[in-house]
Symmetry: none
Subunit: 312 residues, 4 copies
Amino acid sequence: MRNVGIDIGGTKIAGGVVAEDGTILEQRRVPTPIDPSALADAVADMVAELTAVHDVRAVGVAAAGFIDASRSVILHAPNIDWREEPLRAELEARIGRPVTLENDANAAGWGEFRFGAGRGVRDMVMITLGTGVGGAVIIDGELLLGGNGTAAELGHIRFERGGRPCGCGQRGCLEQYASGRALQREAADIAASGGAGAGLAAARTSEGIVPAAAMARLIAEGDPGAIEAVHRVATALGEGCGAFQAVLDPQLFVIGGGVADLGERLLQPLRSAYATAVPGYGEHAVASFAIATLGNDAGLIGVADLAGSRAR
Amino acid sequence: MRNVGIDIGGTKIAGGVVAEDGTILEQRRVPTPIDPSALADAVADMVAELTAVHDVRAVGVAAAGFIDASRSVILHAPNIDWREEPLRAELEARIGRPVTLENDANAAGWGEFRFGAGRGVRDMVMITLGTGVGGAVIIDGELLLGGNGTAAELGHIRFERGGRPCGCGQRGCLEQYASGRALQREAADIAASGGAGAGLAAARTSEGIVPAAAMARLIAEGDPGAIEAVHRVATALGEGCGAFQAVLDPQLFVIGGGVADLGERLLQPLRSAYATAVPGYGEHAVASFAIATLGNDAGLIGVADLAGSRAR
Amino acid sequence: MRNVGIDIGGTKIAGGVVAEDGTILEQRRVPTPIDPSALADAVADMVAELTAVHDVRAVGVAAAGFIDASRSVILHAPNIDWREEPLRAELEARIGRPVTLENDANAAGWGEFRFGAGRGVRDMVMITLGTGVGGAVIIDGELLLGGNGTAAELGHIRFERGGRPCGCGQRGCLEQYASGRALQREAADIAASGGAGAGLAAARTSEGIVPAAAMARLIAEGDPGAIEAVHRVATALGEGCGAFQAVLDPQLFVIGGGVADLGERLLQPLRSAYATAVPGYGEHAVASFAIATLGNDAGLIGVADLAGSRAR
Amino acid sequence: MRNVGIDIGGTKIAGGVVAEDGTILEQRRVPTPIDPSALADAVADMVAELTAVHDVRAVGVAAAGFIDASRSVILHAPNIDWREEPLRAELEARIGRPVTLENDANAAGWGEFRFGAGRGVRDMVMITLGTGVGGAVIIDGELLLGGNGTAAELGHIRFERGGRPCGCGQRGCLEQYASGRALQREAADIAASGGAGAGLAAARTSEGIVPAAAMARLIAEGDPGAIEAVHRVATALGEGCGAFQAVLDPQLFVIGGGVADLGERLLQPLRSAYATAVPGYGEHAVASFAIATLGNDAGLIGVADLAGSRAR
């Protein structure tokens, strides 16, 4: 049976019809409207188009933000400025089919678990390194939602006591040390320090940003400043994964998002740092690490599959 | 249906027949033998005595240490010097009934979840503050075991980067800052610092230890050094609970073990520290805190109930 | 008996027919194709041309990267983006002769050992200072491969605790302090520091690089900044050689690669630093130092000879 | 065929007849004479007694110190104050059988490789943590002697630039950070620091030494100062093993000597530190770690077996 997945991002809405094996049969994209009700219309229109030619069981919608335990209400979606939005009921009325909401990081984690890097494991943690950090936890084949629907906020465990302030209101959150934005920050700090930062300094734009492509080139060239930046981010993430290991004991960590394109350049120092943060390292089995395989489609595919399974 | 629970501690073995409502119908205690095979004999004898007069479905055995994912083999029990001990098969052969093994912290957590402070919630974290830290996690009504059987090592998330070394081989583990031993250490440090530590210094034995009774007295008297020590431990634990909140989103934290006898003296600074470590604190529902209610019987009761449910 | 040696570099493939005394009888060069299968074609074509007119026993292929213990599979060749490439079987099928693979640094070391600076010794270490560091170890006349095929990673012993990050995922590796790239980095640091760095600063390009020719000129002129840069690199390498002495006790160190063109300018401070890092220096015989003599042909010659000896 | 092994220690000479399977058939012990010629007499007498009743092929003698490449001359044995001692010829004349000399650390390493923790591997490194550090390297089933007979001085690679002075004349040698004496030093430093060092301070003798038994008890009790001391030593050793991995690529590290009695308490932090010092950790196979199994007999057994194989 086919399902529709909709992934609401900060700049565009992506939607697709997803088969039971995770294949995308048809896909659409529109810009994300700024107005919330226009956004609901855009989602409904996209679902209408996709269901006109495909026989679809259920509709899943992924969005950034906190979602309540019943997967009905968006408690707070910072990027879209939603609060306590009963989106599920509104969409079900317009669409005439069961709708499920899910956090975008959970959707992507479920996609990788079912059809990507996580196939075949039962206990998995996915960490999506975009601008910030998205987390998803699979326990014994089930997505961890939490008692209030807000589990797997993996970017917000404390990495450094009294450390950098975070948008979540606390200090020292892992996200401030291990994310796309953190990589930019480390690159900027190193560029400013002179010496080894000359390559980064030369690649900086007038806004003080080192574009991802330039960063990738510098890393491939072995530029010491760029490698230092990656090492710092990977070390923070590896230590964080040690904490997730202690609490959750997954079989596999899947790393996704734009920063994961660094591949082994990221995973090597990450694994070393992880080994310094797992209790009793070497005494019992621990988790493996893999790069995500579904790319930007993970959320769309995952939320479609979740919708299908919740509609059963 | 009744079940037997056995709790193997460092100094004594406690066993009991437990009714379906968690009531202990009959209880025994013997010293823990040093020799592993004498220990298995002692457990088998105790079970034989308890089952002579009670109709029992299953037997649960709780012990400190890592237990494999099938709850059959003790991978490593430092206190009893067991490694790769296939205790379940050995006990089943001697006892003639289904046996289940469980980590003592998990057993206590399950006991509190089913019959103690955690009744009525679905998602709970229990932290047992003895000499070290024991952790148990209940997710949607199920005990979290982990992909390799070693989840919920809650005392071993990193609290301080590059901090105090831990018996687990790493540095800065929460257990080194929030446990009975950590409370002793903080008391010793404060005593050594003079000033506010005068009360603690006077109460110290020649081995440099402040006995628990003296500690309790000093706290009741409002001794500034003793209160400082409790505050440090509570702060560390509260920050750790912030991390567990971010990852697991429980409805309730239950605090047990000897240090939990401090009650609100512990919980008050703990909740404040927790509020500084939960992402988006105040924006969505978070967990409550409660002191455990079953005391030392939690493990025995919990493992009996687990044995019954696994034998079904 | 003659053998063919092929040296796959980042920009060109060099191949030659090598006599039993190490003489190159005929040589070819083509650009390195970007596509891996085109690369295998290019190697096979070059071998076909070379064997059309020479009677050849075996074919050796040298490439940068990790090679498995059986010298059959390239585990990871970063420059060519190969992973788990069963190149030996593929080439043997195309070429119809026994093929052996070898790491380029090992091939060059073997070449120098058999026909270059290392003739006549039994225990030798070769260090190739190109952009990075290549290492090869000869023990009692045999090339050291290691239990997993990855021995002699001499650029990756730790030189400085907590030091500069390395592309290998660790920190403080010798390669970050003693290599062509390290020489560039030291030159840039010295140029930025003003004073003695004026000569280097003037020679820098707009990308912040001091070209090798300018560097050589400045050294010949006795420019204090350029000499300081060489001294730093030589010191790091000498200290590293002290560690190799303690572990391996070679009779001879051979220094090759582009940086070795500095000759005694490099070896003099290197030997002094070595004397500060050898246990019991002056109490027992230690190793000598020599500059490599085969230049860029060392790898081609070495791998041809290795192929011949392995085919026996 | 049987062989005699003699292990000359600082305080006693141990000798034994060793069967081909490594079993000790008969054993003797006498105090080590201070005078060198009395020592040779004592060895000859012990061999005479042991060979009176056993049919013996060859005699191996193990002693601390540098031994020349032909295994004939003790170049320098600090504990016995020997220099350029042609001990082999002298003993062969007295004993009338082929004699081989070997460094005690090499002998112990060979013993473990043939009959202890290293059975079944081809490439192994043994590190003996006594007062100092002894090293032995097995490559492809052969003991590494080095070009001048002084290889495997594993305690003398540099751990810290500009660090603690070493008896070998250099600074920062690994032995100053990872050995029995280093453990004592760390314990003394921590005791002196107050606070967490109270347990160590209380256990110190009037000479400022924490006896091994007291150290073991404190570690078992989780004393924070004692655990800190072990962690420091294990970290240094783990980083050192990363360097040995990069150079030698062994399949197995065997840790012996008195400090190895700490078992997993030592190996856990050691493995974590090792993971931060191996190039490309996680990308290719690396070594395992094991505690030695032959105890104090390793040297005697190993040197007997070496003597037998060299006499063949």
